[in-house]
Amino acid sequence: MAEKHSPLAQFEIKTLVPLDFGGVNVSFTNSSLFMVATVVVVSLFLILAMRRAALVPGRWQSIAELSYVFVANVMKDTVGSEGRKYFPFIFTVFMFILFGNLLGMLPYSFTFTSHIIVTFTIAAVIFVGVTLIALAKHKMHFFSFFMPPGVPMLLAPLLVPIEIISYLSRPISLSVRLFANMLAGHTLLKVFAGFIVSLGVFGIAPWAFVVALTGLEIVIAFLQAFVFTMLTCLYLNDALHLH
């Protein structure tokens, strides 16, 4: 029971190929490895599944089409037809996070979505992109976003900072939600798995719990990818339609 077996050891970043780029550490780590693996798996899955695109889809083609229709439905319900041109990006984000979460469920693997820096980078890209879209579309009218309609001018000095903080907190809540869910779930799994051996015969109880929890974790992997995508769509909707 050394520190190697701590429940948090699974989140440790290990450098696989040390790289240094102009004084910046850009080493290829296990986190990078799993990101690359995710991209490869998603690409292979979609390309192979759609290789023989038949009118009556086979098993794999159904799954690929289902994921497309799922994301398209979320976009349709939240953004509407105007969001159509942003579909490729949203779909990429969804598949990347979903497969990242699911690959993290494999034993001995690494969950890169359990690192705040990864989720925050994705959220920050979305946040900056959505703000630029809103600025390009509404020009200066965008700033009326921070001054809700029907509010007396007297309250403006108080409300505008609050609205700005509320707007700036979006990428943080977006990234923390995904990261905290993955981190908490994987830590919990590991903690209960640790009880199995130390309890001997009675280890059957935590063992059963871990089995159930694994199922729950897979649900959460889907759910969090969905929530992340849906909130991205909501932000996009705000950017496109303002108020």
Binding site: A72, V74, K76, D77, T78, G80, S81, E82, R84, F145, F146, P148, P149, G150, V151, L158, P161, I162, E163, I165, S166, L168, S169, R170, I172, S173, V176, R177, A180, N181, L223, V227, M230, C233, L234, Y235, N237, D238, H241, H243
Partner: protein, 119 residues
């Protein structure tokens, strides 16, 4: 002569196709349900917590940076922490009322037509 023919699957096929085209083109928006709060209570509770904390964190960050810039330690940070708390409560209020992140204090946004949102 059309009356006597037995009804086949092909009857009115064109109509059905047109009908499906009109309503089923994938990208026409029929209802808004994305801005509803998450259904499970645990998910909702989790989201409330994160909304509150992240807004306070942003307020803290802004105040701290402004303090460093204007050399007014620690006053702006205190002010912005409180403002951040307000923003957090506002976020939660909006989430609970079910209009997502749209600013304003009006009751839910109703879509005026298929494409646009109105406030």
């Amino acid at each position: 002569m059309t009356e006597e023919r037995p009804k086949s699957d092909l009857d009115g096929l064109q109509e059905r196709i047109d009908d499906a085209r009109e309503r089923g083109t994938f990208w026409t928006k029929d209802e808004i349900d994305g801005s509803k709060p998450p259904k499970s209570a645990l998910g909702l509770a989790f989201r409330v917590g994160i909304e509150l904390v992240s807004a306070v964190a942003v307020g803290l960050g802004i105040g701290w940076l402004l303090d460093r810039w204007l050399d007014t330690k620690p006053w702006l940070m205190l002010v912005f922490i409180i403002l951040g708390g307000c923003a957090g409560i506002l976020n939660v209020y909006r989430m609970a009322r079910g209009f997502g992140y749209a600013p304003g204090y009006q009751r839910g946004n109703t879509p005026s037509d298929g494409t646009d949102r109105q406030s």
